[in-house]
Amino acid sequence: MSALKVIVSAIEQVADGICHFTFAAADGGELPGFSGGSHVVVSMPAHNRTYRNAYSLLSSPADRRNYQIAVRLQEQSRGGSRFMHEQVKVGSRLDISWPVNLFPISRVGHKHILVAGGIGITPFMSQVHELLRTGADFELHYAFRSPQYAGFIDQLQQLLGKNLICHDQSQRQVLDLQALLSQQPLGTHVYVCGPAGMVDALLSTAYELGWPDAHVHHEEFLAPPIGEPFTLRLKQSGKSVEVGAEVSMLEAMEAAGVDAPYLCRGGACGRCELEVLATDGVIEHHDHYLSDAEKGSGKKIMPCVSRAKCSFIELNL
């Protein structure tokens, strides 16, 4: 996969534990255009391994001079967010993927309700530019713990005015999903990004109110969970790869020089799907891509976030 070479041109703390990075093209030219809701995968060359994390692009898609991302220091960082906070400086060179959009605004929607929780604001940053440009009917609901956690709030207030509705939990301003979703005109689409509890609550409220699935959108990138070590056997290449407790199957394969496909690395896009041929244990599916029936069949796995509780698993690769 071809990478874009960028240089970090600015770093700024935007809220408690959240750093904002600006990237410019290393050759001084323009970066590729993108659509609202896109992300890039940033490769982080640490001394013993390369981390790859997906981050939403925050800037206006019309501005091709630079890209912007925000990185929250994860309390239980596997290394990626800590690397970005501690190792990356202005002038650092990084490889990033071309922009990918798994969370686009529906172009056939009549009205758009955006619902963000905390750092889940990031994919909406580029979307609001797109919605403003096309003159779409939309509103952004932004829920946060307290103002010091509300990244980009000033910028959003300036851009959106009354189209921004804040829900400050420290002021007991609760987002009433039932009320929000029960009185929208036909043809409205709703988009949610935030903590798992918030996403699940919105999805189930929309479902109970009879919203069509195609009108309910969510983005939830997962970090690969920690598990127990096991051995990966690759049938076609005859290779054997050890998967450590704190690395994903995909990362272990990459470290072993196996060219496995991927896009989002967060269990959402489906690109890295592999066929399971055998295992002596149980697959632990963590992705949002496979259907329950597919997960139950035990024949497919998304190695970016899923793993197995076993001594070995054999894949058709």
């Binding site: 996969m1 993108f34 922009p99 990918v100 686009p104 896009l263």
Partner: protein, 347 residues
Amino acid sequence: MNNLAYKRETFRDDYTYRNSPAAIRRFPFPFAEDHYMYSVNIEQHQPGAPGSIVEHAFDIDEHYVSECKDKLLTLAQDKGRYAALPHMMDAQWDFLELTMESLARDYPQLFTLTKDVDHWTWRNRPLEIEDSFIFGDASTLPLEPFDYMGRQVQGDFVLLDQREGTLFADAGFITSQADWSLAFDIGMSWHEWHGPVPQVEKMGIMDRALKFLMSLQQGSPVRRLNWTMTINPRLDTSPEHFPEWGPDKLTVTPQNAGEKAHLRVELQSMFRLPRSNAILFSIRCYLISLEELATYPRWAKRFHRVLKDLHPDLLEYKGIKVYHEAVLAWLSQHDDGAEIAAGTHPG
């Protein structure tokens, strides 16, 4: 290919279309083996060998001017060959940008694009077009952006919107289609418009191809070849105009097949577009008569063998059945049965 001598030729009525020896040599002959099986056969659309049809993102060849004229004739007869649903305007600008930037970069003697922020000027020397406009403001162009550039690039184009877990054909510029209808397919989803392809659903090919396309990335376009046959070198073999070309199928004889029957190869390329997140599906058609094909004996032999044992469902689907015997009879004179090495190269 920077100093092309454009051929003045027709794709209808008197059918004066011919390939020069150089065009025959670079023809995208699709059969590497003696037996053909439908497959998705997708590869990266990276720049290929100099002079080949995949040297550049969009191939401009000796037929450029005549083919663009033929597009105008088809559009004048039937306005429905161009259609774009209202939500596809960003994709239209993406298409204009991709084609203008590619042509100006790859054929600088023929095309020039100058930009002053949003003020763009486009010069197309072969077609004698020059326009200045504001990028993003459709009122500053004589036509909608997709229509405007669709007339200036060889081939057909479909813009696919990605939503609801599938792809919708929501805009198209279709003047050289191999017997399918834009008016019929516009707004359809992936599985709806592939409904008629035989023997495909049960193989799960369309599901896998859809999944692959949905994760197609900007900066990594892909391509594949497809093929069929056409009687007379006609670009517009649309269902709407079937009465004008359909009956020609009945005129093929073992004597005239070499001149009348053409192998029609489509170079299909797919690009993820930046602003719209849409996919551009480009279908570029290459036509070659059996006589021209037989300039290279291994091509005639191989095509004979491919056609001889082609599955009856595919013969039916590709509309070859009625003249299959006549074409086989003509090709058999060129097939001595000798073994030929795998590969698509001419000599």
